[in-house]
Amino acid sequence: MDNPVSDATANDYGQDSQFDDYFALLKPRVMSLVVFTAAVGLLVAPVGVNPVIGFASILFIALGAGASGALNMWWDADIDAIMKRTVKRPVPDGRVTPKNAMIVGLWLSVIAVGMLALTANFFAAGLLAFTIFFYAVVYTMWLKRWTPQNIVIGGASGAFPPMVGWAVATGGISVESVAMFMLIFIWTPPHFWALSLFMNDDYTRAGVPMLPVTHGTRVTRNNILGYTVLLFVVAIATAFTGIGGPIYLATAVILNVLFLIGAMKLWKRTDAQADDDNFAAERKFFRLSLVYLFASFAALLGDAVLRGFDLLNTWPVVI
């Protein structure tokens, strides 16, 4: 016998979960956005943080986000297996068992919150715990399968990371951290509804009550435009808080004009037009939304650097 370990041995163990499979369970792409927004929340705060404490805190916030991602994949395995976009995730693909996904999610939640409490402060840790609870329980287990407002309310969980970052530095909440929260909170509906327009078949088959599924694409397009207008107001108002400045204001004006033009285009389009070009405008709007969030927070960071050099002492802070 050439190989003393027969193939039957491997089969006996079933699917042998690898490190990469468990890493994929943590939704690394979502984690990268959480890392970025939480880091900006921490860095724009008026209180300095030791680099080691700051780095570790961001890591534990990211771990908490990953934990909630694992819990989401455990609970949603049935609908993930139906949707093309999610069918290759570790649980529906059989690479990680649902039970293991749950165990990983729960333990990482405990580790992330506990370590953040020890590293930063109890307020930041409490906020992180609430974020995990909100995403895993309120959004995943309750809202997602129940109401088309799922991503509107559930969007709060994605909006908390910069507040947690701010809390790591300051130990509390203020107008500035609420402004960052609102920016992501109002940005989430147009971002996800654009996605749901070109992924409508997926959501319909899985029975997820996204707005295009329950109220049709016309209502969805109207709502995308409505929230984009609201986002314009929130984004410009943020420029006149303690974290705003000329770089952010200029960036916000450009991004929001582009975003508004994109939303207007979506609003004017019919389903027939969208089908004809395979949802080209909707896909473009979705990509723009990703750039929007990244650039907005990068601009806030740019103004924080200027503020560090005392170059924004005359900037009008009215909120």
């Binding site: 003393p4 041995t9 690898q18 490190f19 080691v52 404490i53 570790a56 590293t119």
Partner: protein
């Protein structure tokens, strides 16, 4: 008889174990770094270690 040939499964597990080891090692290093920062609070860490260390003597005594 010693088993010499390896199944591809072993290679995959070895890689996973190495990655997990690296994560655990990184975690221990991070906790150590956090501990040092928290304890030192911006100052260097020194303590009595059975030899005279002038740097930790009270300033008044050190100047005498």
């Amino acid at each position: 008889m010693a088993i010499k040939a390896e199944h591809p499964l072993h290679g995959r597990r070895k890689r996973s174990n190495m990655m997990l080891g690296a994560v655990l090692g990184g975690f221990v290093t991070l906790v150590f770094a956090i501990t040092i920062v928290k304890m030192s609070n911006g100052e260097s860490l020194e303590a009595y270690d059975h030899t005279t260390r002038y740097s930790i003597e009270p300033k008044a005594e050190a100047s005498e």
